[in-house]
Point group: C2
Chain length 394, copies 2
């Protein structure tokens, strides 16, 4: 349980992150914020621990550690339970907050109510958007970690063709990819917000299974192998004449990249080849079109127009079931801000990290398309998941 950002040589990074949170607190009119979710504890401490972080808008943050977690330095206080926080704040001269932020989206109703009772305040407000906004623009340190993810994920994807054997099921193929990922250091556990993204280490979708919808919030569906986890690989043998889409876990260090490549088993129909080429063309276009100050909704609209112009509207972002986005922010969580959808007028900002995934589902053939993770710059998008994107046979 190393809280890496509390080490003396990382205090600058800690300050940067805390300042970003405080800026968002000011916009939201919050004078105090209590963090308790693993994602945001990791963001602020550089390590997951048992406890809380309290940020007064005008003072240094306080780390409250519940044993066996322990902190280092004078910012850290040991508590047994959250009910002990208020007394420590008072003893430090930090009064009751007028407007206290709590993570309404990230903690359960029971936890939030307990924290409200433990920390009296003038009023309570949702801190989830505040923390998401703070995490939206990555620091250089975070970008370094994400570049590392991208390089490692690409390194594994280079080996994917060696994971394939004839007459394999999609699940057998996925299991071999999981093993290579794990051996290169993938942590496996997929950190996402909410309860709508449950699966094991990602998704391999082959053939007709691509057109089976899933209740989860992934861009592509798949039946899964059991009604308790209805998403992704279905356990069917991968047949000649179909496409296989690999969209597996790129988390090696607390951050993650999101990356998709496709292969075919034998030859696939011309429309599938064209769809894949269209996805690559959309990404090439967006890499220049999308830069600082372009509205996120414009990026979505441009991608959809390019798909329409190619005569592929019927299969863009799904066929039986379509999703309404072509990308999303990515960082500590797989589903960060912004969602790249039509009704999102917020501008892209420098050092946002977004995954763009213009994908197509050709019924009976499979899912086609490419996904890369990008850093937004003033002149366009910098791809951090660099690897050949062409559609090759396995």
């Amino acid at each position: 349980m190393d809280l890496t950002l509390l080490h003396p040589d990382k205090r600058h990074e800690l300050s940067l992150r805390v300042e970003k949170v405080k800026f968002q607190m000011q916009i939201a009119g919050m004078d105090g914020l209590l963090v308790g979710s693993p994602t945001n504890l990791y963001y602020l401490g550089g390590g997951v621990f048992r406890g809380y972080v309290y940020i007064p808008v005008d003072r240094d943050p306080l780390f409250f550690m519940i044993p066996p977690s322990e902190g280092i330095g004078d910012m850290c206080h040991t508590i047994r339970k959250p009910e002990m926080i208020a007394g420590i704040l008072e003893s430090q001269g930090i009064g009751k907050a007028t407007k206290l932020g709590l993570e309404f989206d990230d903690l359960s109703y029971s936890e939030i109510r307990r924290l409200m009772r433990a920390l009296p305040a003038g009023e309570y407000s949702d801190a989830t958007p505040v923390l998401r906004m703070a995490r939206l623009i990555k620091t250089d340190y975070e970008l370094r970690l994400m570049r590392q993810d991208g390089m490692r994920q690409a390194e594994v994807y280079k080996q994917i063709k060696h994971c394939y054997q004839e007459d394999m099921t999609d699940m057998e193929f996925q299991i071999e990819i999981e093993r290579v990922l794990r051996r290169v250091g993938c942590l496996g556990y997929l950190r996402a917000a909410g309860n709508r993204m449950q699966l094991n280490m990602g998704s391999v979708i082959a053939g007709a299974n691509a057109d089976v919808p899933s209740p989860y919030d992934f861009s592509m569906g798949g039946a899964g192998t059991d009604p308790s986890l209805p998403v992704g690989a279905s356990g069917e043998i991968m047949k000649p004449g179909t496409a296989v889409m690999v969209d597996m876990n790129g988390g090696f260090n607390g951050y993650q990249t999101d990356m998709t490549r496709c292969w075919t088993i034998g030859e696939v129909p011309e429309k599938a080849v064209r769809a894949h080429e269209c996805s690559i063309a959309i990404l090439r276009d967006l890499e220049h079109f999308a830069h600082t100050d372009v509205a996120v909704g414009e990026v979505y609209r441009r991608a959809r127009r390019l798909a329409d112009d190619a005569g592929l509207a019927d299969c863009f972002m799904g066929h039986n079931h379509k999703v309404a986005f072509i990308g999303h922010g990515v960082g500590i969580e797989l589903n960060e801000m912004p969602v790249v959808m039509e009704r999102n007028d917020t501008p892209l900002l420098g050092n946002m990290t977004i995954a763009l995934e213009p994908k197509f589902v050709i019924p009976g053939v499979g899912a086609l398309g490419v996904e890369n993770t990008y850093i937004v710059t003033d002149t366009g998008l910098e791809n951090i998941t660099v690897l050949d994107e062409s559609l090759k046979q396995l």
Copy 2:
């Protein structure tokens, strides 16, 4: 997205589960209950879907499906959002609940507040304990699924020694076990309540790493390989003179069993051998001692007394950091009721399923002990994770 319990041949099972929930609702004085968490949707529908289940205490349940999820039969209604539920209930002659149950522990504060606005009621009450109590005693159908898990998990554990190679790291060993588990059908994703059980497919703990505490709610700790996921295997080479504990995912069908076995690399000190034998002796004893109507706290106390009598109190259930339980319920979630801890006076009941894991940490050597999943019967515990328990060299 197959809702298996809505098929005509499974309606009996659906009725059984609904009746159990209604019985708990009556005890809690609830006349309505709205379910929205994946775990409880799966429990009631036999498949995870996007939507909700509403249970009026005196009528049949209603399934509300959000596309692309779709239901079968007249219990199912299509909605776009939860705000449409109240109108459908009214049109069916189901009035506003006097006391409406919502899953306070399983859904976020935002979700619960949205559901409260969507469904006016006299008052709102926590449905998490109601659903946990209903799930506590398994039906024959559920027991069949759990017996299947136990057999498959034991089958994989038989192959574990073949996953080992000299000079492997604990993580490399875990990755090979993950692969065998997945190939036998393990779903990988570990379903647990709350945000305090994050890891990839389980835990392999070797040598000194056993004594490193973790912030997560697992019986054993481990440093992990990254501060973002500080639990389990640490990536160190497994050295002669140490023990390796394998406690990996036993989920193959929506339910799961929990099972631990240990091996040694070369010879280990006598105390480690004695601790392992003590764990086996505790389980043999509890298998007769623990039966219907024995208080859960008594089971804990008896296990601890046996460890004390063996002179092993200092390393029982941890050394640097001890946990206060020796077992837990298991089913759809890994951490179901009851927690087998001292202050739990509730009685064991027939067809509860519990995992018992009397474990020891010998500093510098590793974690020792055995875990089995049991069905509670009138005469004792029925082990459903049957496999040799002795401490063998890898």
